[in-house]
């Protein structure tokens, strides 16, 4: 059971967001820019960074849903997503993404662990400044989303099919659009 009175019908971050729409809006706007906005990193690559950081933080809801969104962008390749979670160095991803995941893994622990050598390694493999910036911020942002979901003791279902179905929808429609349904229905419920 969650630590505060969240809707039992909305697992993970959705219950928390419906509880407080004023903070839900910037939280959704940030993830929308970072993971779906214009970028030279593909949406699949950015979702893999989010999934990897969430997996290292052991936040079941976040690494499951973002893993499924990543898979949806990567032709349904759930095995690749699992490989990135367990040992990304062995995964069939670009050397550039591996260098960015190394940076993301350090940010997940402590931003001060990122060294000039890590950044140079990513640059040598073709990473631009803005790609490095976005990698750092995706990793930092998921340290927030993960703590938010875990810290409120939200419901985090085990059912993979649930994440697969929702992952496809988020991959197709984006975060803000999908969030409007529960933010709006909550406002509606609150008004009655």
């Amino acid at each position: 059971m969650a630590h505060i009175a969240l809707s039992p019908d909305l697992p993970g971050i959705r219950g928390a967001m419906a509880f407080r729409p004023e903070t839900a809006r910037p939280l959704n706007a940030l993830v929308e820019v970072l993971l779906t906005g214009p970028s030279t990193l593909t949406r699949g690559e950015r979702e893999l960074i989010a999934t990897y950081v969430s997996s290292r933080n052991c936040t079941h809801y976040c690494h499951s849903i973002h893993g499924m969104i990543a898979a949806a962008h990567l032709g349904g390749d759930e095995a690749l997503v699992k490989q990135v979670k367990t040992d990304f160095m062995q995964a069939a991803i670009s050397p550039k993404l591996k260098a960015l995941l190394t940076i993301a893994g350090k940010v997940q622990q402590d931003g001060k662990l990122v060294t000039a050598v890590d950044v140079e390694a990513a640059r040598v493999l073709g990473a631009s400044d803005i790609e490095i910036h976005d990698t750092v911020l995706i990793a930092a942002a998921f340290c927030m989303y993960n703590r938010y979901v875990d810290g409120l003791g939200t419901d985090q279902p085990d059912d993979e099919a649930l994440y697969r179905e929702r992952g496809r929808r988020v991959a197709r429609d984006g975060y803000v659009t999908v969030s409007e349904e529960y933010l709006a229905s909550n406002a509606h419920a609150a008004a009655h």
């Binding site: 931003g111 990122v114 930092a140």
Partner: protein, 190 residues
């Protein structure tokens, strides 16, 4: 030197914000709702939670700027120092102590927060919304701190700069930049 080419003279998070306005906007809005908008927790209390988490994450820029903002709200710089070093002996309410305990656990890992921690805060009068906001402030500063440190931003040691920032943050909040022009460069009046 920062890890990427951030605009010169913009310390800490203002470097990242100036570099990438698209992500700065929702981050500013989030900070504004959490720390400045109306709330049953005072802005001073919420800035103390932010400063405490930033101190536990050892992020100089964030703990100095939010410590300065807390000081502006509370009028006493000693409270901030006491909260950072040992909040249980600081002159703050029992409710805030219970919330700081939750914030300290979220800073490490959200899963460490127990039903007992939450019940203890409730016994001191904390509402669900106050507990929610405490968890999210602590989570958000786990992001802001990593962003500032992970980019290797310039984090000056000049207390006067943080005092000026703190004044702006306490009075105006987070929607507009507290640092509008490069710091440490000549300012041409009029």
């Amino acid at each position: 030197m920062a890890h990427i080419e951030l605009p010169e003279g913009f310390p800490g998070i203002s470097g990242g914000f100036t570099y990438r306005p698209e992500t700065a906007k929702p981050m500013r809005e989030l900070a504004h709702v959490l720390l400045h908008d109306e709330n049953t927790l005072t802005s001073g209390e919420r800035e103390l939670i932010a400063a405490y988490v930033s101190s536990k994450n050892d992020c100089h820029f964030c703990q100095a700027s939010h410590g300065a903002a807390a000081t502006c709200h509370l009028g006493d710089p000693l409270v901030v120092e006491q909260v950072k070093t040992d909040f249980l002996s600081a002159p703050v309410s029992e409710k805030l102590k219970a919330l700081l305990k939750i914030a300290g656990k979220v800073q490490q890992d959200g899963k460490l927060v127990t039903a007992e921690d939450v019940e203890a805060a409730r016994k001191q009068g904390a509402t669900d919304k106050e507990i929610h906001d405490t968890v999210l402030i602590a989570a958000a500063f786990s992001m802001f701190n990593r962003y500032v440190d992970g980019l290797g931003t310039w984090q000056p040691r000049d207390p006067e700069m943080y005092a000026r920032m703190g004044r702006h943050l306490a009075d105006e909040g987070y929607k507009e930049p507290s640092i509008k022009q490069p710091v440490g460069q000549p300012v041409h009046a009029g």
